[in-house]
Symmetry: C2
């Protein structure tokens, strides 16, 4: 990540972090609050708060006013991670053990619920700064996005047991599970900043395209990056049987033997490292990784072109830098 972008992310989200910790104090019952803070502590890039604040500024608003909404969306994001890790039985996230691994499944569910409720506590603090009509609109957007994320998670799980998933089904699932909350971040920021409807819509479309690219790159990194930079074991996606676009493309273009190599590892929790490596190499030789990389870049171009209506500004530049970073990141 460019130093510049790191600085922009950190600067803009410092106050969001402060609010997150204010909302999750070291309070009784201690284990619940500790479990709730665990993933927040572990880091994360705070891309969603960055989007909220940047889009607020981009339409001419004061980003400080959107801090509670930025914290709200980050809390929603973290709640979905805590619960998804239980559903998917993932043991590592952001390089540390997942919440349920440390605290058990019951407290993990409980902590996710707490983060969810805290998201609305955060959002409702915007009453001080954001006009009622705009705040209700922002709450509508956050709520609808969360419903959509739940649908996306259900689809993602259903795909794991499904032999044949089409590219179209995949795109729909990613739009729901990953892109929806990113889109909501942009829209909520623009709404809070006093943006006009067409500006909100345009930013939403830009971030939707970038969000789809984001997931595609994530899928690639899941196969090619190493565990240290990834924060979770290499090949997790293959072991869990995730129907990523790479796998869908691969299975659609594989000959019989190639299919067998992929399917031997796919969804097989006991697959050996060798079987995983063979499956990944087969996907590479089928051009599936290149295909998805090219598609991610095309979505990035689309995302950037959506921003053309906005006059050049510092905020707009930062957003374009984020879009490029999303497809260029190597970890």
């Amino acid at each position: 990540m460019s130093e510049e972008l790191v600085k922009a992310l950190n600067d803009s989200t410092k106050q969001v972090n402060d609010l997150l910790y204010e909302l999750l104090p070291e309070r009784y019952p201690k284990d619940l609050y500790k479990a709730s803070r665990h993933l927040i502590d572990a880091g994360g890039k705070r891309v969603r708060p960055f989007l909220v604040l940047t889009c607020c500024e981009l339409v001419g608003g004061n980003p400080l006013k959107a801090i509670p909404l930025a914290a709200a969306i980050e809390l929603i994001h973290n709640f979905t991670l805590v619960h998804d890790d239980i559903m998917d039985q993932d043991r590592l996230r952001r390089g540390v053990p997942t919440v349920h691994v440390l605290y058990g499944v019951p407290l993990g569910i409980n902590a996710g619920d707490m983060l969810f409720a805290k998201a609305y506590e955060a959002a409702l603090r915007a009453q001080r700064n954001v006009k009622p009509g705009r705040l209700f609109k922002a709450l509508d957007v956050i709520t609808e996005a969360t419903i959509t994320v739940c649908e996306g998670q259900a689809l993602d799980m259903a795909f794991e047991g499904k032999m044949k998933v089409t590219e179209r089904e995949y795109m729909d699932m990613v739009a729901k599970k990953t892109a929806a909350l990113l889109v909501a971040s942009a829209c909520v920021g623009a709404i809070a900043g006093g943006g006009k409807s067409y500006e909100v819509a345009r930013l939403g479309r830009a971030v939707r395209a970038s969000g789809l690219a984001f997931q595609m790159v994530d899928d690639i990194l899941g196969l090619t990056a190493d565990e240290k930079v990834l924060g979770k074991p290499v090949g997790s996606d293959i072991r869990e049987g995730k129907r990523t676009l790479i796998v869908i493309h691969g299975l659609n273009h594989a000959k019989k033997l190639q299919s067998e190599t992929i399917l031997r590892a796919l969804g097989n929790r006991n697959a050996s490292l060798e079987e995983i490596t063979k499956a990944v190499n087969t996907l590479k030789s089928l051009g599936s990784i290149d295909y998805v990389a090219a598609k991610a870049e095309a979505f990035n171009q689309r995302a950037k072109s959506e921003l053309r209506i906005f006059p050049s500004s510092n905020a707009c530049e930062r957003l374009l830098t984020l879009f490029d970073y999303i497809v260029e990141r190597k970890y």
Copy 2:
């Protein structure tokens, strides 16, 4: 339950039910929406919606305007049930298998999250009928109550592994896990109905006392009612090691042998029916059940006396009837 009260509950909550089904249509992904509707379908007394609508009317408001808020609180309640059943590994609820038993733990978590998000969708529909300031206040109350319920569930789980729980700790846990959302129902109804601060506070205090009585009676029924009317296996609370007030009183007053009889069954998932029965009989002979019944009645009197400031009205009468029903119900 008196026929009159049944009719009052049904009449007042019919439109709430309609809204619940409108919010949870038979939509893609089908399993997720089916799992989310499961407990709503299974019934439940809709005590919380009744409280919202009745308290709205009691302070002079039009209860129809509070329907979205009543639906919201019922959805919050159902989300907590779905997740609690997973955390507590309960297999029966309202006489039917719990959500995770039918759909698996991952979809159970997912469905609970969906119900949670849908609660805010429901509440935000009140934008049409409730003034912004009052609706924000109602959202604050719902959100704080949900946070409190999460804390209560964490305490309840922590108690299961704890040897010594005091009566004070028990009351605090029940105030959080059970009473908080009932109190929120009353307050939200009164807020939406245009109630004055002291009216909202008074109704909150009344329902808090009644809510504590409610849980005590529930604890008694958990030991004395049979499976058919209870909707879950007799002795579940003992098997799960729940520190109910009955158990706390019993252990505080038991001699060595009596303690052993209780502890042999308490928290022992493999306890035989005979061991359960012996534990229950020991608690009876120690006067623990009578003690809790008397305490529940005292809380009921307190609840009713809180209502004295309100002039007699149909709504007030219905609320008093509900309070009495809560301590008199035999199932």
